[in-house]
Amino acid sequence: MPVYSEKVMEYFMNPRNVGEIKDADGIGEVGNPVCGDMMTFYIKVKGNRLEDVKFQTFGCGAAIAVSSMVSEMAIGKTLEEALTITPSMVAQELEGLPKNKFHCSNLGAQALRKAIRDYANKKGIKIKGLEEKGEEDEEGEES
C-alpha cells in the first residue's frame, strides 16, 4: 500500500466539493476506467471567476484527494489563474504523492482545464493560457 501524506489522507477521507453541478457552465471529463481513474469536473463561472467547482471521481485514494484539492484550489480564481494550476502544484499542496500516483495529479489539472475549455467553446471566447497546450495533454491516457 502506498504511503500517503496526512494531507492526502485528510482530503481523501473528507473530500471537498464532491458532486455534480446541474446547470454547470463547463464540464471536463478525463481518464477512463481501463486506466484506472476517471474524473469529471463541473464549473460554474460568474464574471470571469470560478464561482463553484465540483467533481466526481472513480479511482484510488490519491485520485480522490487530488480532485478534492484541485477543486479547492480553483474556487474563487479567475479562469486565467485557474489555468495556471499545474500537477506539481497540486502534488505540492497535498504534501507529496507516491511516485506511481503522480499521474493522478495530472488528471486533476487536466480535468479542470478541460472544463474551462468546454466553457470557452460554449461561449465562443478565448482565454489566455488555454491555447498554449494541445488537446493531447488532456486525455490522461498515459496512466
Partner: protein, 393 residues
C-alpha cells in the same frame, strides 16, 4: 476500535506454538546442520523432524522435500529447475493464465531463453479445463504447471483430473499449492503431481519458509550454485529456525485441519451472504463452491478497490485488492482479466482472507462497516452517477 485482520491471503499470523519451537534455534542451537559435531547434529535433527512434518502434511516422503526461502522460490525452482533438467527431451511448457507471477514470470524467463510456452485459458470461475491442458500437450512438451488453488479468487482447480488426463504422456506435472497447502487436504499422490510448492506463511508458519516437494528420482537443476544442502538441490546454510517453524505449522495444520475448515467455511459463507445481501452490484469472484474455505473475493461495481481498502483500514479492517491502483505497476489483476472480468469491474476488486483468529463478531463488524463505505465512494463516482441516470430512464 475493533481490529479485524482479514488479509490472511497476504500472510497468516504465526501461531505461538510455532514461535516457541523456533526460539531455541535463534539462539541456543546455532550449529550449522552440515557440521559433523554435536552442534551440527542438533540442528540437523531439528531439520529432519521438520522434513517429516512437512512431508506428512502432503503425504509425501521426507527425502522428497526441498526447503526454500519462500513459496516464490519453490515455484521458480520447480519451473526453471525441472524444465532445464528436461531440456534434452523438449522445450515446451504449459501453464494456466491465472498462475502466480512466480510461475508465470518464471515461465516467461524460460521462454526468453528458448523454451516455448502455452498459456491455457480459464473460464469465468477461474477454472482450467483438464481437456484443454491435455489438448495442448505436444511431443516436445516437458512440463505442465497448474496451480492447486488461486490466492486471488479462491478457486480450487481440478488438479487431480488434470493429473489423470496427462499421466500417460509422461509429461512432468507441477502444482503451485501455496494457497491451498495447510488450508485444505493436499495429497501429492491423489493429485497425481510430480512436484508441488508450498509456503509456511499461508498456514500460520513463519515468513521466509517454503518448500518444494519433488517426486523421488526426478532431476532438478538448482537455481543457485553452492553446497550440498537439500540433496544438492538448494544450496546455502539452512534457515533452521524458519524450517523448524514451518514443520510445526505443518503438524498443527494437519491436526487441526477439519476444525479449521469447518469454522472458516462457516465464517466465509456468512461474509459472502452478508456482502451480497447488503451491497447491490457486488459480485463474488471465483467459484461459488469449489473455493478455499477461508477465501471470499468480490468486485464491487462503480468504485475502486484501493479507496475501499483504505476506508476499511480506517475502521480497523485489513483486506487486499487486485485493482490496478493497488498494484505498484498500476495494472489490473491478471487473474480477474483472464476470467473475462472487464478492467472497469476489476477495479472494484476486494479480497478477504479469513484466519483462525477471526470470529462471528469480526464478520458482523465488516458487514456493518462496508456498505456505508461503498455508498460514500459511489456518491463520488461518475460511473455510478451515469448508471443511476441511465436506469432512472
Amino acid at each position: 476500535m475493533r481490529k479485524v485482520y482479514l488479509d490472511n491471503v497476504a500472510t497468516t499470523p504465526i501461531l505461538l506454538e510455532a514461535v516457541e519451537v523456533m526460539l531455541p534455534y535463534l539462539r541456543e542451537v546455532y550449529g550449522n546442520p552440515q557440521s559433523l559435531h554435536s552442534w551440527g547434529d542438533e540442528a540437523r535433527e531439528a531439520i529432519d523432524i521438520a522434513r517429516e512434518q512437512v512431508a506428512a502434511l502432503i503425504a509425501g516422503n521426507p527425502e522428497e522435500i526441498v526447503f526454500t526461502s519462500s513459496g516464490s522460490e519453490a515455484n521458480n525452482l520447480a519451473i526453471k529447475g525441472l524444465a532445464q533438467a528436461q531440456a534434452g527431451k523438449g522445450k515446451h511448457i504449459i501453464v494456466s493464465a491465472v498462475e502466480h507471477f512466480s510461475v508465470l514470470h518464471a515461465a516467461r524467463t524460460l521462454e526468453k531463453a528458448g523454451f516455448e510456452l502455452t498459456i491455457v485459458p480459464v473460464d469465468k470461475y477461474g477454472l482450467t479445463d483438464p481437456d484443454e491442458v491435455a489438448k495442448n500437450i505436444r511431443k516436445d512438451t516437458i512440463l505442465v504447471s497448474i496451480m492447486h488453488a488461486n490466492g486471488e479468487v479462491g478457486t480450487i482447480q481440478p488438479v487431480a483430473e488434470i493429473g489423470m488426463k496427462i499421466k500417460e504422456t509422461g509429461v512432468l506435472f507441477h502444482t503451485d499449492a501455496i494457497a491451498s497447502t495447510g488450508n485444505i487436504g493436499v495429497d501429492v499422490k491423489g493429485l497425481g503431481v510430480d512436484a508441488l510448492s508450498l509456503a509456511g506463511n499461508q498456514f500460520y508458519g513463519p515468513k521466509g519458509s517454503g518448500a518444494l516437494w519433488v517426486r523421488k528420482g526426478l532431476r532438478l537443476i538448482p537455481l543457485m550454485d553452492g553446497g550440498v544442502q537439500e540433496g544438492g538441490r538448494r544450496p546455502g546454510t539452512e534457515n533452521v529456525p524458519a524450517i523448524v517453524g514451518l514443520g510445526k505449522a505443518a503438524e498443527l495444520a494437519q491436526r487441526d485441519m477439519p476444525s479449521r475448515m469447518e469454522k472458516l467455511s462457516h465464517l466465509r459463507d456468512k461474509l459472502i451472504d452478508g456482502i451480497l445481501t447488503t451491497i447491490d452490484h457486488a459480485l463474488l469472484t471465483g467459484h461459488p463452491s469449489q473455493r478455499l474455505p477461508h477465501h471470499a473475493s468480490f468486485c464491487i461495481e462503480f468504485i475502486e478497490g484501493e479507496a475501499m481498502l483504505m476506508l476499511l483500514n480506517s475502521q480497523g479492517i485489513a483486506v487486499s485488492s487486485g485493482s490496478a491502483c493497488t498494484s505498484q505497476a498500476l495494472k489490473a489483476s491478471h487473474v480477474l482479466i483472464a476470467m473475462g472480468i472487464s478492467h472497469e469491474i476489476a477495479q472494484g476488486s476486494l479480497l478477504f482472507g479469513l484466519g483462525v483468529d477471526n470470529n462471528e463478531g469480526d464478520i458482523d463488524y465488516v458487514i456493518e462497516k462496508l456498505p456505508p463505505i461503498v455508498s460514500k465512494l459511489r456518491q463520488m463516482s461518475p460511473l455510478y452517477a451515469r448508471f443511476m441516470k441511465e436506469h432512472r430512464g
